[in-house]
């Protein structure tokens, strides 16, 4: 049976991608941010996961409002970077773990979830940035396959935080029942606090961000019980996407150890950070 070796949470701000593309990694403005990811990169190099399940949202690059799934699971062999307006970024395509994706979809449907089954789609910074932050950008090929889970966190109604937490629990069941010796990581992405629109634009909440980085490890049930409004109130209109970390957390055991935690604000207009969790 497959093994879940850990959970990662991270921001996926497009400015991080732009900073990498422009070679700003080691500038005074960005270096502290990127350096905070070094321990996680080391952990990845040491543990070499085979599959990354990445929970993120498309930011209206690959999907339009005509059809918005509450959540969808990619089961393609390959996911190419999408054109977000500047042309597709020069990142190698992501290889899919299609066999597991189908197993996950089967498991979800058997457990009363209603995924969209996605066989052909491109991926935006929401998936690209986390992959680059943890694996670095490879020359040709990614050393890991991916299972993208797309969540609607933009068009209302967005899913309940508790629903995403429970989705994580079924994801774990799928990994544990998957007949394979592959090693899995689950990556929740998005956030932390930011608001890009309205008269409250530029809203940041570093204290709440840091509290979230503690609670996601120690009090996930509490965070899963929050209302959607409370997320938006606390983390801003776009920061509400933090609910996607609950899928990652739901996939892990109740007891976890925080291997690494990092926070930096603001990256562009966003409270940015990451966490690395291992089960006890």
């Amino acid at each position: 049976m497959a093994t879940l070796i850990g959970g990662l949470g991270t921001s996926h701000v497009p400015s991080i991608a732009a900073a990498m593309d422009k070679g700003l990694r080691d500038t005074p403005e960005w270096q502290p941010f990127f350096d905070g990811y070094l321990p996680a990169q080391e952990w990845i190099r040491y543990h070499r996961p085979d599959v990354a399940v990445v929970i993120f949202n498309d930011h209206y690059n690959a999907m339009f409002l005509d059809r918005v799934p509450t959540f969808g699971v990619g089961c393609a062999d390959e996911y190419h970077p999408v054109d977000e307006g500047w042309g597709p970024r020069q990142v190698p395509p992501f290889r899919g773990a299609a066999d597991f994706s189908w197993h996950l979809i089967d498991t979800l449907v058997e457990n009363h979830f209603d995924p969209e089954i996605i066989q052909e789609i491109k991926v935006d910074h929401g998936l690209q940035v986390p992959m680059e932050l943890f694996w670095g950008r490879p020359e040709n090929e990614w050393p890991v396959t991916v299972v993208p889970i797309f969540v609607n966190v933009l068009q209302y109604p967005i899913p309940l935080p508790s629903r995403l937490y429970n989705l994580g629990k079924v994801l774990r069941r799928a990994i544990e029942s998957y007949d394979s010796d592959q090693r899995f990581v689950v990556i929740g992405t998005g956030g932390l606090s930011h608001q890009l629109q309205g008269a409250r634009a530029g809203f940041l909440n570093p204290d709440a961000d840091q509290q979230f980085l503690r609670d996601i490890a120690d009090r996930p049930d509490e965070l899963a019980g929050w209302s959607r409004e409370k997320y938006v109130q606390t983390f801003g209109s776009e920061g509400g996407e933090l609910i996607m970390w609950l899928v990652m957390r739901g996939a892990l055991n109740q007891q976890v150890t925080v291997r690494h935690r990092h926070y930096f604000a603001p990256a562009s207009m966003t409270g940015a950070g990451m966490i690395l969790l291992e089960e006890d």
Partner: protein, 128 residues
């Protein structure tokens, strides 16, 4: 950095007065229905051919998506606050900033009604 930054009293009317959370335009039912045309138009800019069409004749490109006079005007004046008020969502209209570059913090400042430096300092806690 303080815990919560209150919007400065800029004298601007809020973008919409029936938001559940003040000054926080969510892509809820009403707003996205209103903004459907603008958002579809902006989504189109993910295609290089459409970007060329937008650059070549912006008004004609906007007409193709059936934008009304108010919407066209907001886009052509790059009035970000107004585009959002009309139901535009930032992730769509951000694609305009790929064709006609502007920093996202400038878009933020414009919506708040602050000059860029003040926005960076007061909202984002930057030392400028």
């Amino acid at each position: 950095m303080t815990q919560t930054r209150e919007p400065a009293g800029s004298g601007h009317e809020p973008a919409r007065d029936d938001d559940t959370i003040p000054d926080t335009p969510l892509l809820d039912r009403k707003r996205q229905l209103r903004g459907y045309r603008i958002n579809k138009m902006a989504m189109g800019l993910g295609d290089p051919a459409n970007r060329e069409a937008f650059k070549a004749d912006e008004a004609a490109y906007l007409d193709r998506f059936g934008l009304n006079a108010e919407e066209k005007d907001a886009v052509m004046r790059r009035d970000w606050r107004e585009m959002i008020r009309l139901g535009g969502n930032l992730f769509f209209i951000l694609k305009i900033s790929a064709v006609d570059p502007i920093r996202i913090t400038e878009i933020g400042a414009h919506q708040v009604g602050m000059d860029h430096e003040t926005f960076l300092r007061e909202r984002l806690g930057k030392k400028v």
